[in-house]
């Protein structure tokens, strides 16, 4: 992870990232953590602290729901699944992201045509 992506840049998208993982199937904390690393092609690690805080927030707003798995060896896993509300939110966030990406591109890479004289 040499080319570090700024945490500030990604913070606002934590929820979307988690929803995207859960959209593809129920999962539990550590598995989600690993999936995010994998999705970023090993360029980004979302810390567990951030992850669990997001779980609590997403569950409170009804985007995800949790249930306990029935493993006994090494302890139970708490699984999360995306709700219908969560799916809707994900689609909304994705739309907003696509829009923002376009605008930011203009703002960061765009040049002003200098045609005054």
């Amino acid at each position: 992870m040499e080319n570090k992506i700024s945490t500030d840049l990604i913070r606002g998208h934590t929820d979307t990232i988690i929803l995207n993982v859960l959209r593809q199937g129920d999962s539990y904390g550590y598995q989600i953590y690993k999936t995010i690393i994998e999705l970023s092609k090993n360029q980004y690690e979302l810390k567990e602290a951030t992850l669990y805080t997001a779980f609590r927030r997403l569950e409170k707003e009804g985007s995800i729901a949790s249930y306990w798995g029935d493993e006994t060896q090494g302890g139970r896993r708490k699984y999360y699944r995306i709700t219908e509300d969560g799916e809707t939110r994900y689609e909304q966030y994705k739309k907003e992201w696509k829009f923002a990406k376009e605008i930011l591109n203009y703002l960061i890479e765009g040049g002003i045509e200098n045609d005054e004289k």
């Binding site: 567990e48 805080t53 090494g74 139970r76």
Partner: protein, 219 residues
């Protein structure tokens, strides 16, 4: 033995993270979630070639800053009303279970008594005691999944296993009396008793030796 050592270190670490935070069912659940995931991460690091203490250190330090979660939990611990909402559903389910269990036991005892006074054969009298066996298992499950003022609710899978263990022990007694009275031979009673009793006790012991402490700290 090694495995237990890691488990203990993880548990101690997680407990330490939230030391001084008011207890709640949510905190108890979060700690279990964190501990399970940490153990898995440590196991992965070890598989990648790290030794145990290095794996533990790395896993713990890579978790990031948990102070937000700690604050969140402190708030939950202080808010008794929130806790009540959180646990009221499970409390109701377990209350229904306790009532069902007690009624089943009474039903079993009363029908057995009735048959006894009808001068039925003894094996018929003990036969209806099967309701008592089911009642005991249901009460065990409901009692363990209930959050009390002193203890947290046990997780459901463990509670089911406990219910099965105690149910088996009760069932072994039931089988012993029923087959004993039916055949009139004590050795048959003992031999059929033995099978279920040993399995039940074995399961029970297994659960006792792997259990985590559910006692609440006394404030």
């Amino acid at each position: 033995m090694m495995r237990n050592n890691v488990d203990k270190k993880v548990q101690a670490h997680v407990d330490g993270l939230f030391s001084g935070v008011g207890e709640s069912q949510q905190l108890y659940d979060l700690k279990e979630e964190l501990a399970t995931n940490l153990k898995e991460k440590i196991a992965d690091y070890k598989k990648a070639g790290m030794d145990e203490s290095a794996a533990f250190k790395e896993a713990v330090s890579s978790m990031g800053d948990l102070s937000g979660l700690v604050d969140d939990m402190r708030e939950v611990g202080q808010n008794k009303a929130k806790q009540a909402v959180y646990s009221s559903m499970t409390a109701r389910i377990s209350a229904a279970g306790l009532i069902t269990g007690i009624l089943l036991i009474l039903f079993g005892v009363l029908t057995s008594a009735m048959l006894y006074f009808m001068d039925m054969d003894l094996e018929a009298v003990t036969g209806t005691a099967i309701f008592v066996v089911f009642g005991i298992a249901i009460i065990t499950y409901s009692g363990l999944t209930r959050e009390s003022s002193k203890k947290y609710a046990m997780n459901r899978v463990r509670a089911i296993l406990y219910a099965v263990a105690i149910g088996l022990v009760a069932f072994s007694l039931f089988v012993a009396f029923t087959t004993g009275f039916a055949t009139g031979e004590v050795y048959i009673a003992i031999s059929s008793f033995m099978i279920f009793f040993l399995v039940g006790i074995g399961l029970w012991l297994g659960l006792i030796f792997t259990g985590t402490d559910r006692r609440k700290m006394v404030a």
